[in-house]
Amino acid sequence: MRYGGRSLAQGIAVGKACLYKPYDAKPEKKMLEPGECDKALLRYKTAQETALGELKCIYNNLSNEDEAAIFLAHIDILCDDVINEEIKDCICCEGYIEEWAVYSTYENYIQTLGKVKDTLICERAADLKDVQNRLLRCLAGIPENNLSMLQKPTVIVAHDLMPSDTAMLDRSMVKGIVIEIGGVTSHSAIIARSYGIPLLCVQNATQLVANDDTLIIDAFEGVLLLNADKATVESYIKKCDMWLAKKKEIERYITVKSICTDGTRIDVELNIGSATSEELKDSEYTDGIGLFRTEFLYMGRRQLPSEDEQFEIYKRVLSQFSGRHVTLRTLDIGGDKILESIQLPQEQNPFMGKRALRLCFDNLEIFKTQIRAALRASIYGNLWIMFPMVSSMDDFRRAKGIVTEVKEELALSAIPFDKNIKLGIMIEIPAIAMLADQVSKEVDFASIGTNDLLQYALAVDRMNPDVSTYYQIYHPALFRLIGFVAEQFRKEDKPLCVCGESAGDPLSAVVFIGLGIRKLSMGCSLISGIKKLICGMSLEKSERLAKSIQDMSTATEVENLLREALNEYI
């Protein structure tokens, strides 16, 4: 079978399907047949042992302490004497089937904990639910679908993947991902692209596909093939190898210096999230970190990272970049990024709501903790601090004021920090882009976030698949806006970077360079492609292309022109 889909991360993958669906079943309330009690007890005990084996296996494979602690708690719950006795009573004395005994006994405690006002306890109800589901699944004899422990080359099929799911992905085995919802800039798509995993969005995928089906993803053409014949599979394995070989060929460019044929130097910088070794593996070949998305340190965990924990991570990254700048973007949550540790308001329009800097202004303790950690780490390298979601200079001045406050507090306690830290902003709201002449006089640097700038400029919700065709990354208006900003920053001779998704897209990157941008920042997997482009390109050519776009009126015209002009460079 052949299904159409939207490509969110290019590439080709062949593998066995793994449906990722949280197990969710409610057993029937049924009585045991007479004399079945011992068998029921044995089945419960066996399921419990299977579940324990699974949990121990997950626990032993996790290196992240916070994730490991969660599974340790699950083991405690599973082996809890009190709940065990109650389940056995429910089977032996009350005579219910083991599924119902497990379900109802756990449900009792889930209800109890769920009613407690303390959010920390409420969260434990979710852990009980998790163990309850695990036990019921083991009783049903259904094997576990865990994304962190895959045995063979796999294509994940899921409704959507949450950041915490992707954190657990076994990247050596996941060859491709199919999801049902999400746009080009959804979290799953960004992660997939940064790790070079093909990602396709196919409607109702979880209903079309069964576990262990052979799947082919062609995310260049936007096609999903289900259980194709042998010849087709073989031809795609060849295509996939060719794609990987081309990728490898491009990867050779990772070590080259990013200098245009006429000698113009373009800084190629790195975007990172959790500062994992994988993200940082090629850091020595980059000109710094253009974007450190610190919110990833806050995601998928129950408690906020402490000042010391943040300090250690910032210190490690700063030391590793030995003098090259590290641009730390302060906590940017809200919109598509949620935290377990902070209750975010339910909003009609979260992308325009209380997110990022706005949220930090209302949670000063969280904000100041991060600034303190960053300032303390600043003595280990060249730290730049950048504020997201700035819509007016009032925002920047207020944030700067808070940094000054923290500096004073540190000075009073005689804690050292770098006094010359650069402070800058993300340019992602059209209003602040239009003010670039004013902004460039006051900030030390700025970075253009193209994903949000485009979303706000075109009035397109980038998470809504129904309007995704309106999210046009080659819209000529975007290039006009960026051109204006670049001109203003050039007049003031202040650093200006483009760090959005478009910076890693060769077609857009050429135009940015032509418009005067000299710094591009992107995920690790895109760096070699952009370096290859820069090395083969003259500044004059990119300026000419940027100029011809000024006279175009649609994204299609722009894209066609760029594709034709750049065919040989990408």
Binding site: A69, L72, A73, D76, I77, D80, D81, V82, I83, Y109, T112, L113, V116, D118, L120, I121, E123, R124, L128, R302, Q303, S306
Partner: protein
């Protein structure tokens, strides 16, 4: 029977990681160990994470720990010390 009273110091109280640590410690003793709020109802099994979570002990609450058995004194003293250490949280 042997018992002692103490106050919970760590900011997250006896849930999450501290609860796991607490029951792991309690399980190390043979005696029957219970924990309760001061002036609260009857104590609950201190070796059960579910019971510990159900009574939800937060920071600043006073609790009573009691044990009955061969190693009751050692059990109570060790658990009180663990609570007073703040579980390594600040």
């Amino acid at each position: 029977m042997y018992e002692k009273t103490t106050t919970i110091k760590n900011h997250s109280g006896l849930h999450a990681r501290p609860a796991s640590q607490f029951i792991a410690c309690a399980k190390g003793f043979k005696s029957k160990v219970t924990i309760s709020r001061i002036n609260g109802k009857e104590g609950v099994n201190a070796k059960s994470i579910i019971m510990l979570l159900s009574i939800g002990l937060g920071k600043g609450e006073s609790v009573n720990i009691s044990a009955d058995g061969d190693d009751e004194v050692q059990a109570v003293d060790t658990l009180v010390k663990l609570i007073e250490s703040g579980f390594g949280e600040t």
